[in-house]
Symmetry: C2
Subunit: 332 residues, 2 copies
Amino acid sequence: MPHAIHAAYARPMARRSRRLCDLGETALIERIERRVGGPPRGGWVVGIGDDAAILRGRAGEDLVFSTDTLVEDVHFRLAREGPRRIGRRALAVNLSDLAAMGATPVGALLSLCAPPDLPVSVFDGFIAGFAEDAKRFACPLVGGNLARAEKCILSVTVIGRVGHGRALRRTGLAVGDFLFVTGVLGQAALARLTADRLGRPLRHVPEPRLEAGRRIARLRDVKACIDLSDGLSSDLGQLLRPVRLAAEVDPTALPAAPGFSRACRRMGIGPRRLHSTGGEDYELLFALAPGRAAADPAGLARRLGVRVTRIGRVVSGQGVDGIPALTAGHHF
Amino acid sequence: MPHAIHAAYARPMARRSRRLCDLGETALIERIERRVGGPPRGGWVVGIGDDAAILRGRAGEDLVFSTDTLVEDVHFRLAREGPRRIGRRALAVNLSDLAAMGATPVGALLSLCAPPDLPVSVFDGFIAGFAEDAKRFACPLVGGNLARAEKCILSVTVIGRVGHGRALRRTGLAVGDFLFVTGVLGQAALARLTADRLGRPLRHVPEPRLEAGRRIARLRDVKACIDLSDGLSSDLGQLLRPVRLAAEVDPTALPAAPGFSRACRRMGIGPRRLHSTGGEDYELLFALAPGRAAADPAGLARRLGVRVTRIGRVVSGQGVDGIPALTAGHHF
């Protein structure tokens, strides 16, 4: 490669210009939003910034779209997790975005990058895992792309449908709203850390909360919803920042699997930090206005068909009180 | 990483199992189709295997979906092409798939992987180029994902719309159909080779044939359409293989830009091979049943608003006669 051209690319580096890691994910997304400019026209209700984009449909139904990527040695290690589980997870993290919108899966596209010397058995494993959960969640693989790359990268786009104007959004929090989470927190992070430290295979695959999401979308008092991918602390911040509000979270109320604290201590990890910042829970965090549903968590759990825990409430101010803050680990 | 786990992944390699490069892209896609099993249900008209997937809409309109990925050092070199052009190209190659369906863009999602130490100016360049063409082709960026990776990877999904049942398909060729291409061939490959050999920046960005695609879809005699990404020889094979037919192509009829042969000879390249196997033309290849439109290429060009050339016809047999065969360079 001739020097003249290399220099053109190298120059900004030589000037110690800013790098992606200096800005972080949120600032980079804001940069994209500024460049793209305002909400998209042409039938789009929501563009960049929510769990998924929403396209206004014509027959009582909206379509939602989301995309998420798993990168080898960043989001997974082939040797630790096995290709089948990675294929399942690539779809599951996308379906979780549909769950957070209260949407039902329609189909998925898979863009798979892989090195040419990858054993076909690993490729088959990716596809088998993906196909298995595609069938289980009625989200057929309808298209995709294969490309050569040095590492395996699974980039998935999912399409979902939801009643006209019924999609759950990230916006809408108000002071006094109560915060709830489905399922338990910290278990995925504990499984990952345990697998790392003990050198065991990682068997955890997140379960997208599609049915719970659909039922949350039908609650009259629902104000906002997001899926927990980066950890409660970080994802709650995503709900609070746009409306410039804060939250008080009761750390002793966070739902845990039986034996969670004991297992954390055995690993020499602080359970509280892992609980709220570990990430990859793929549970739903949602807010309800004060009222009958919010006052009766047991009744709410019955209606949603999953464990539901009230973890705190929205207050004025800034930040999240009660749980540790986090810098997300998988980003820039 | 402990040996027990590494061994699980390494074992198939030790047995000299087949690798992706032993099978090639077409065989791998067939493997996916077999695993996924049959056409998808739930409103899907076309799944894997065409330029895009088609979802039956409810109000006189179908939606089409396609995804395509550009990988650093496989599909582009940052130093040679510059981030802005790469951003434009990432969208253009996807819009070309919509053109091949006769569809109109609705929106796009961008999954961008990049190393954390990438200068923000390069990131901004990707986004600026993408946004520029998104505006030009009325295809707003509505969502996406950012992830860390060792190389830059731009994975794009586009959504398009087309009249109910009017999408151009790859299937439908019959003996006697005439074959046409839009624009000129080989120019993109020549530009790439010239940039490579002389160490000059690559300035070529493909122009998706969206308007021509829409007009081709309105032709009464149209039988099949595909966009030329891998080169005429390879992409024509994609149309012929499923229907087990062959084609006779007149190599002297292939449309070239002025000075193409001379420029090839100056570079010491055979123009004929480059012409039909160079790839990245992103022109449309389509077939018309014999009739008035097929008999009048000049009138056809006026109707489609682009240069159109009749290059040959469909015959019984197997393979493509008249132009060199190709093994695509960017795949496995």
